[in-house]
């Protein structure tokens, strides 16, 4: 049972909040790079943790992320003209570069040095893994970017999307590390009456993947709704394993990573399959953007895989041109009650949409004081505990340990089958060659050389 105070502490990220302070110590994605497709293109409004900002790509391709209020008379720079390495206010022509510096002030006397004293708030940005990341913290020197695996592979090996969600970021994150819910939320009905080919077709677009039929994963997930959880701590977060009864003396493990403060990696991939992960970026306290990435460390994604992701299959959502899911809280996710009776547990199409439906349905901010948690919620409990401790450390002025270990973000998570006698750490070594799933070495990283990051 969580206290009201802790629930507030964990969920609110606006300026001045403790959790907002913690998240602002890390780099956070604020846009897909392709939302600013070319130099001097139209600026984009973004709201991050309650701050209304404006992003623009200048003539040199650099991305600025600024408070969009002209300090002259308060006009909004969104209507500004993006020209010659700066955004110019259309009211009286004051112009600002990506660092927020006023670089032209036509209303001032010729030769006046006044403009040099005028700045707008601007946050450092980096482009990394097809996203624009920003550092919104108070430290003069931002930390290193996290060496997340999806960002380390060549662009052809990954696909990154984003989607709008109508609830607090934390309940989305909790949903991502809670693998117990696969036995219901994403379950498909009626497969027992199908032949293997039909079942594969049915599962082709689902979270478990078409191979789930052939390799029995589907059956194991369906038949054991109470997986046993094991959680290991690491520099960058948590390894969360959930083991279900498989055949004979084996367990089917589904393992996720929680990466501080707002990332989670998905539990499905067997060797050779694509990896998936998500980053949860608060917009307000009751809405967030979810960045979703699919990658394969060994080969480019196929055209079909990219088309599937773009079309809103597997873990990606089907979105409109503003990245709002077509099936959302305003249309009850187009729930189909006949479908729910006969073909899928929710009647809602899409794994991403099923997640969104149930997470939004918990309310803008779920009331964690009324929960009744059990053994299958251990992953979530540990995630909250770690986050609370990090927030308290942050309040006390201690920098999160994870900031000093960007290479500890280079992890893989996924599935494995192992004898029931093996603990999580051994399963991790079997599956990933490392007790925490760290694959930095495979990506050519070592602790002293993580500077593959392209700076803008």
């Amino acid at each position: 049972m969580m206290s009201k105070e802790d629930n507030e502490l964990l969920t609110r990220t606006g300026p001045g909040t403790p959790m907002g302070g913690l998240v602002r110590r890390f780099w956070v994605p604020v846009l897909l790079s392709r939302e600013l497709p070319e130099p001097d293109c139209a600026p984009k409004r973004v709201t991050v943790m309650g701050e209304d900002l404006l992003a623009f790509r200048d003539t040199e391709g650099r991305v600025g992320l600024v408070e969009p209020v002209c300090p002259h008379r308060g006009a909004n720079l969104y209507y500004g003209r993006n020209e010659q390495c700066g955004l110019r206010c259309v009211f009286h022509g004051w112009k600002f570069d990506v660092s927020g510096q006023c670089v032209d002030m036509p209303t001032a006397t010729a030769g006046s040095a006044y403009k040099q004293r005028i700045r707008i708030k601007a946050y450092p940005t980096r482009e990394w893994g097809d996203c624009v990341w920003a550092y919104m913290g108070d430290e003069a020197e931002p930390p290193e970017l996290p060496s997340m695996a999806f960002a380390l592979v060549p662009p052809s090996h990954r696909y990154v999307s984003k989607k709008w969600q109508d609830c607090n970021w934390l309940q989305c994150l909790e949903g991502a590390v809670d693998t117990a819910h696969f036995s219901f939320l994403h379950m498909i009905l009626g497969t027992e009456e199908m032949d293997e080919k039909q079942a594969i077709e049915r599962l082709r677009h689902a979270a478990l993947g078409a191979q789930a039929v052939r390799n029995d994963r589907f059956r194991w997930v369906r038949d054991d709704p109470a997986p046993a959880f094991s959680v290991d701590e690491m520099e960058s977060g948590l390894v969360i394993g959930a083991a279900r009864r498989a055949d004979e003396e084996d367990l089917y493990w589904r393992i996720t990573h929680y990466l501080l403060p707002n990332h989670a990696l998905a539990p499905s991939a067997f060797p050779g399959e694509n990896y998936h992960g998500q980053t949860f970026v608060p917009v307000s306290d009751t809405s967030c953007w979810i960045y979703t990435y699919t990658w394969n460390p060994e080969r480019p994604l196929t055209e079909e895989e990219v088309a599937m992701a773009r079309g809103g299959h597997t873990v990606h959502a089907e979105v409109d041109e503003h990245y709002v899911p077509l099936r959302n809280i305003r249309n009850d996710y187009l729930i189909d009650r006949e479908e729910q009776k006969h073909r899928s547990f929710t009647g809602i199409r899409g794994v991403s949409e099923q997640d969104a439906a149930i997470q939004d349905s918990q309310g803008g901010i779920v009331d964690r004081t009324r929960e009744h948690l059990g053994a299958t919620d251990i992953g979530i409990v540990r995630l909250r505990k770690l986050l609370l401790q990090q927030v308290r450390d942050s309040i006390a002025g201690r920098a999160p340990r994870a900031l000093a270990h960007p290479q500890a973000y280079a992890t893989h998570s996924g599935g494995w089958v192992a004898h029931r006698s093996k603990p999580l750490s051994e399963v991790m070594v079997e599956r990933f060659g490392d007790p925490q799933g760290n694959v930095g070495a495979a990506y050519g990283l070592d602790a002293d050389a993580v500077q593959t990051q392209k700076e803008t």
Copy 2:
């Protein structure tokens, strides 16, 4: 002149309010039975007096009315799967029956008794008069259902509809017992230039009924805008008579019933004509559902009568598939100013819509501290006085007397012409055979045998 405090006391019905407490001592309709058309159909969201609830019909046809929050992780049960005598949360599969009891908990250890300690809030329901009624009070044992006449006749003898209204429930109820307004709000213009056949056609769809022309009621209502009110109290509420000058020494009486706490019967029916009534169920403090019933104790309604009611004629509104009137506050009731100049007093089509327009127009909650009441408002004044006294009794812990007299709800109200020397009680005996219009005996009721109620 009402005090601000009394106005608040009378109008607010959310959890914890005194009036909310009073209304919750009675059964209230929360859905039309046909909104849950079959076993295991889709659940329906309902908000009653500020409480967000979920109604579902289980495999056995029973109706559950529950708080839709899964006690496990707070997911909303609206997205739940209605299966095998219970609603199952799609997040992790916890399942609840119509009584709110958790009947399955797949995440728990096999054999665990924990689920027996888990319940969600659920209110008792009954189906009665084509409606689902709920008892939302605190008493362990709900009272008997009110023996309202429309619910006592065979289903073929009645038609029940509902409509959304954008204002506080009480001003709708006041409109229903205020028969003075017929001289304006529902008035039709230009009949003097018509022959009888034309006038009948014009009035065919109006509140007074086609026969109003032939029997002069229309003329009497038009010509006397200041009826004299008489009010008698009875166990279940009030008999409210309004007498207008008719021809020679006669008075034309239009008599309504107010039935505690939120019902009103209409004043038009002469012997042999259909009866009408309404029940006002708060959604929020500034919106309500109005259940409207038309019935004939002697014969089935004709196909034409049912078609008229369905189409939004007589006292029923023309509504969309969500029971929202097509002519509503968001489109100014499609008021037609030319129509208002030449054919009807409001320019708004439909008696129900005319009522809605003027009641909504008073504001979300009408400010009763600024009123200027007169002799034609006596019915309303008495209704408020009775309600205030009941609320105060309720605060003091005294159960409303009406609860002990469910058979006192079996009443008819309507119209009559009588010599001006006769008081209301004599007129009631002439018209209905009982000074309070009680027709329980005609329906086979007596004080000891009112158990015709079908329980679900």
Copy 3:
């Protein structure tokens, strides 16, 4: 730098506010006369400075402006029937004339004098310059109407429009007297590559007028973004001149008037050209109506000029049937970023829409505590200073001096070219024959004879 308190003081006009008190001492336009096109037409809802009111034109053509709440039971008189010199509530038939007096009360005993004691709040109105003006102040006797030039010419010589704006009235007014912004906000690009004919065509619909090309005004405005301001005070407000470098030793003057409390005249007209002006009427604190007038003192407007104004060219906006601009804050003014790159500074079509975009973009109420004002903001600074002083006088019970000088509103403003040695007052005499631009004499006014005003 303005204090938060002064910003509040200047911007808020609801009932009981100091600025609301000041503005209410003056006549304010509340409707276009053509919004009430004929006797007994449909009433119109209007909200003025936070007061929800109802305007109606009675059988005699008089305009009533009343609080729309029937004192009987609080029904809204909007649904009332406009008949025989009064608006009749459709609930129970109480009827009110344009003065707010109850003139019929059908529910009262015949012959009762009660109705004589019942009034609804009503404000005096006048029709003047194609607008309905209201006096919403506390004084028993309203002041004289301001002798604004647009209202003094014959109707054929003027065109008056109105448009909705989504921000506080004061930032619109400030935009109107801030002529420095013409060098950016309304600037047209690429004219250097055009021949004169093409450039004239391009400028034909713009604020500077087609002749701006031929007479070099366009070039002067573009090339000097830092005009020098001079401000003179007069009985009715301010003369605000902004001088840009013209050719050789000349200055190009653009001169506006600020007329207390909420009018501004435009700076473009050279002799013979049409004059323009605007009046800013708060609806709420974050929205207003802008009345815009174009007039020619010497001749009727041509059909083409009227068509241009109606179509939303020159200083008028392109609006829908509710006077809401087609290009507005809800659709980002249909900003076209390609247009912004190559043809106009904003990419927004229409001078009026460009103004609206930048003024709305400052926020509902611009935060004047964060501004960085300079020499080109002197006009705005003086306007604020005058307004603040008038508000403080008003709080102290002193009537604004302007009220005693209605003829001081008969002014012309516009443009002129003069040698750089001449001060504003001399430029005014050269251009308008009067140091303050007062043209009352030309309109046949003198201090003792300003009663050309048609009263309704």
